[in-house]
């Protein structure tokens, strides 16, 4: 062994192929040399050496295979050990800065938790498919029952069609109180078309069509029947008639929304109120169809259009200009919750970004402190990539822990989501943490780590030389760090402005909505509904209604009593076509809401009678047919003229087509939500146009409770089948009608509050740090004669310029983004200048407030100490 040992290839991965070839070649040469030394010729020696060795190519391949596998293992082991090192190091440095870790962790947990919670709703509504069999082939439409039946008969695009209408029932169990529930009157094949099996009992069979049977929704079964498995066969009273329970729907089943508590056969309408089922103007029915294989929704639309055209020619009085709107069942059920969800998840995502900005700022503040540690490690041979990786590991660890905490928060938050959010979720148990939500949460966590961790990591590992050279304060690195932090705060401010503008718009919209005059005085107004369905004929219903109103007015504490077939703010019940004496109305003028009202109705509502008189006891069935119209209709029909004495007649086939004399004009009452402008409305005397139900209004300063007690004796006295449904104050009715906008507004306001707090923290951090950095400068300025206010202004100016930049950016973004909120806004435009100004102003104020403490601290700097430091 005579070789001089000296290193040949110091660093870098080995070249396995060359090494093996060299090694084997050396062996063969040495062997050849030995043979040659024994007297063989070069050629002979070479052949002998090769013979002795075997096939060099095979040996080389075997060696290479071994080496390569070995190298792989070595690499894997070193990666694992690096990772372990990084994790240990990251864990240690997080534990060693508990304040930082806790603040960052809470910020991230809240951000990721809120985002995950919101996404679980999005997942349930927009991602999961409808819980029905082959849901993509289900389409929905609306119309009158007769039209829908013609559509079913004529269109070959559908395998099956099912129909339903919603109906309010007064539900009473044997010996119990009555409560109002929303139910569906459905064709007996509805469950079959949806492909849904009941949990208990059976769904409807064709034989049930005209029978008094019901299927209970799971929540109603739980709340009213205690989840009793023996419920099948039990009898309940619905609006005065007895029904038998034949089935219970599975817990997740809700159709068309979660508000539906039971289903009864549609055929009962054919049986009890055939005029409704046959009335083509009575477009309160919905249909769903299952498209035939290979039929597109466009083809189905084409077929439906042809049928609508035929019906319009056959029944011009009711069907002229009427067509079927065919949309996918998915769009019908959840389509309109899309914008709300998009805005809420967008807002929550912005909040998470703002949280990221704060965490990034915290990390930057720390990396400035740790800069020397990084520099030393780099000088000792750690590569830039290795340091970035270590810092990213720290960020990922932080985000991972935040994500796990956030997931716990989300699990808890999902339980808190009020019924409001999930009313439109097509599957009852749809809001849950499933694989999709978990994947989203994991993705959010990793993205979060990258967003808040990358810039600080790159910043920290810039290079050893610069950092080591800079020993003093205010050196280049620190200035660059400060600039980056300012940029982050500017971005954060901009994001907060966007959230704030969104919340502000919803608040303005909500305030405008609730400030609207509903056209009646809701205070001290109590309402309930009664159903006359169980009464045998029109005459007895007329009788019962008029006696009811008289009796109610006599209840002590009731100042006025009346009723109508529509419930203000909630439902106008129906529209009708009509014609007016001496005026040809074009198509869009010829429709109005139409309600039958009892004497005392407008007195109870305190709706002003503007001309003539209200409906009163003169207007009996035998008296001359009259009508009262609202101001909008009066202005539309007889602009600038007296309406009293003019005539109109309803074209609703269900009602008499008598010409009615207009005897009064009353103020406009909001019947469908506070957001809709008042619609033309016609009131007729209930006695002349009796209905199956009445929404009673009582002016009763004593409130709901005394009324409830009185009703227990008053109602049975009028007729034993009468019960009061949904007894509540009108303020409650109004409050409920704006519950969705209120919920959106409160949620977004809470988000905005969070955004403001986070931004305040961000601004404070940057300004406080900047003041600490500029102590020397402040000292110099004070030494050459600057007073406290100059210094105060110096600091506040920095805060203001930073915040202003953010505000300007944010306002531009908000102006662009708020357009997407249009569908959530009432009476306020998306780019509403006062809202934009208020949001911008609020952030400037918050930025100033957040920098007040550092500013005051700067004022108190003693010039001498500041100058002495370094």
């Amino acid at each position: 062994m005579t070789e001089r040992m000296r290193p040949d290839r110091p660093i870098g991965p080995p070249d396995v192929r060359k090494d093996v070839d060299d090694e084997l070649a050396f062996h063969l040469e040495e062997r050849q040399r030995d043979f040659a030394a024994r007297g063989l010729s070069d050629a002979e020696a070479r052949t002998a050496a090769l013979r002795r060795f075997g096939n060099p190519a095979d040996v080389a391949a075997a060696c290479r295979a071994i080496d390569e596998r070995w190298q792989q293992e070595v690499r894997r082991a070193s990666m694992l050990s690096d990772l372990r090192q990084d994790l240990v190091h990251a864990g240690r440095s997080l534990v060693m800065a508990p304040a930082f870790t806790i603040v960052a962790l809470l910020t991230l947990a809240l951000g990721i938790g809120a985002t995950t919670t919101m996404f679980s709703v999005v997942n349930a509504v927009l991602v999961q498919s409808l819980p029905f069999s082959d849901p993509d082939r289900l389409v929905a439409t609306r119309g009158s029952l007769a039209d829908l039946r013609d559509l079913e008969a004529g269109a070959r695009s559908f395998q099956q069609m099912a129909f339903w209408a919603s109906n309010l029932f007064n539900l009473r169990q044997e010996g119990g109180d009555s409560r109002q529930v929303l139910g569906g009157q459905v064709s007996t094949n509805l469950f079959a078309v949806l492909g849904v099996q009941p949990l208990l009992g059976r769904s409807f069979t064709p034989a049930d069509d005209r029978q008094n049977v019901i299927v209970l929704a799971h929540p109603l079964w739980q709340s009213q029947f205690g989840g009793d498995p023996e419920v099948l066969g039990r009898t309940v009273v619905l609006s005065g008639s007895s029904y038998t329970v034949v089935g219970v729907a599975p817990p997740w089943f809700r159709f068309p929304t979660s508000e539906f508590q039971l289903w009864a056969p549609l055929g009962i309408l054919d049986r009890d109120v055939p005029q409704q089922a046959a009335n083509r103007a009575f477009r309160i029915f919905s249909g769903i169809g299952r498209l035939d294989a290979g039929v597109t929704i466009e083809q189905a639309r084409g077929a439906a259009e042809a049928i609508a055209g035929r019906l319009a020619r056959e029944f011009p009085a009711t069907n002229e200009g009427i067509s079927f709107t065919i949309e996918s069942l998915y769009d019908r059920l959840v389509g309109d919750s899309r914008p709300t969800l998009a805005i809420l998840i967008g807002a929550v995502g912005l909040l998470l970004l703002i949280g990221c900005a704060n965490v990034a700022n915290l990390i930057l503040a720390r990396t400035t402190v740790r800069e020397r540690e990084m520099a030393i490690r780099m000088a000792l041979g750690a590569s830039r990539g290795r340091l970035v990786r270590q810092l990213m590991t720290e960020s990922l660890m932080l985000a991972g822990a935040g994500g796990l905490l956030g997931l716990l928060l989300a699990g808890w938050g999902i339980g808190l989501l009020p019924g409001l959010v999930d009313a439109r979720v097509p599957r009852g148990d749809g809001i849950r943490i499933d694989a999709t939500v978990l994947a989203f949460s994991a993705l959010a966590t990793v993205l979060t780590a990258i967003v808040f961790g990358l810039a600080p990591a790159l910043q920290a590992a810039r290079g050893p030389a610069s950092a080591l050279k800079e020993s003093g304060r205010g050196a280049g690195a620190a200035v660059r760090g400060r600039r980056l932090r300012r940029l982050i705060v500017i971005a954060e401010t901009a994001l907060a402005v966007v959230v704030l503008v969104g919340a502000g718009l919803l608040v303005r919209s909500y305030l405008a909505l609730t400030a609207r005059d509903p056209g009646f005085a809701p205070d001290h107004l109590v309402s309930f509904n009664v159903q006359f369905v169980a009464l045998p004929d029109v005459e007895s219903r007329r009788q019962a209604a008029s006696e009811l109103v008289e009796q109610l007015a006599r209840i002590p504490g009731v100042e006025a009593a009346g009723g109508a077939t529509g419930l203000p703010v909630v439902t106008p019940q129906r529209g009708t076509r009509f014609e007016a004496d001496g005026r040809v109305l074009n198509a869009d003028e010829a429709g109005a809401w139409f309600m039958a009202a009892s004497p005392g109705y407008f007195t109870a509502l305190q709706t002003q009678v503007l001309q003539g008189r209200a409906i009163d006891s003169r207007d009996t069935a035998a008296a001359a047919p009259v009508a009262v119209i609202n101001a909008v209709l009066a202005e539309q029909l007889f602009p600038g003229q007296r309406a009293i004495g003019r005539r109109l007649r309803l074209l609703d086939p269900q009602q008499s087509r008598d010409w009615r004399t207009i005897v009064g004009v009353v103020g406009d009452v909001a019947y469908r939500g506070l957001q809709e402008p008042p619609q033309p409305t016609i009131y007729t005397p209930f006695a002349q146009t009796p209905f199956m139900w009445l929404y009673v209004m009582l002016r009763a300063p004593g409130g709901v409770d005394p009324i409830a007690r009185s009703l227990r004796t008053v109602l049975p006295a009028v007729h034993p089948t009468l019960t009061a449904g949904n007894l509540r104050s009108m303020n409650e009715v109004i409050s409920q009608s704006v519950s969705v906008p209120r919920f959106n507004m409160l949620l977004l306001s809470a988000f905005a509050g969070f955004a403001l707090v986070l931004t305040a923290i961000g601004v404070y951090g940057v300004i406080a740090y900047s003041v600490a950095q500029r102590r020397q400068e402040v000292g110099v300025r004070m030494a050459i004669g600057a007073d406290g206010f100059d210094i105060l202004w110096l600091v506040l100016k920095e805060a203001l310029t930073t915040a202003s930049a953010g505000v300007v950016l944010g306002l531009v973004a908000a102006a662009l983004l708020s357009r997407f909120m249009g569908s959530l806004l009432f009476f306020v435009s998306a780019g509403d200048p006062p809202t934009l100004a208020a949001a911008g102003g609020a952030l400037l104020v918050v930025a100033l407030a957040a920098s007040a403490i550092p500013a005051v601290r700067a004022m108190r700097v003693a010039p001498v100490t500041a100058l002495r430091q370094e």
Binding site: D22, E23, F26, W70
Partner: protein, 115 residues
């Protein structure tokens, strides 16, 4: 030359290599030559299997290698036994001793007495 070729038991080559290296670092050809010398060429190592065995030993951590330049100006890979390699050699040696004693005892055994 009259030579006995002994079919090496699996793993025996590894022991021979470790033994060769126990005297000091060597390159592959040196190991082959050493085995030839000490066995008077009774034991003919198949040179082809020597190198995979060496590489396997290195991957297992029983030997390490280093490159140097020979006086013929060639890159030479020489192997050094590690502490683990020495441990392994000791274990194999004692195992071999026990094995050969046992086998010798069997081969020298007398015919058993029948009852």
């Amino acid at each position: 030359m009259d030579r006995t070729t002994i079919d090496l038991l699996q793993g025996t080559l590894a022991v021979l290599i470790l033994k060769a290296l126990s005297w000091g670092p060597m390159h592959g050809y040196g190991i082959a030559r050493w085995i030839e010398d000490v066995t008077d060429q009774d034991l003919l190592v198949e040179e082809g299997s020597l190198y995979p065995a060496l590489h396997r030993l290195e991957a297992l951590g029983f030997v390490t290698s280093a490159w140097s330049i020979s006086d013929t100006n060639r890159r030479v890979k020489s192997y050094t036994i590690t502490d683990r390699g020495r441990q392994r050699l000791r274990a194999e040696t004692s195992r071999w001793d026990r094995f050969s004693v046992a086998v010798s005892r069997v081969l020298q055994a007398r015919r058993p007495r029948t009852a």
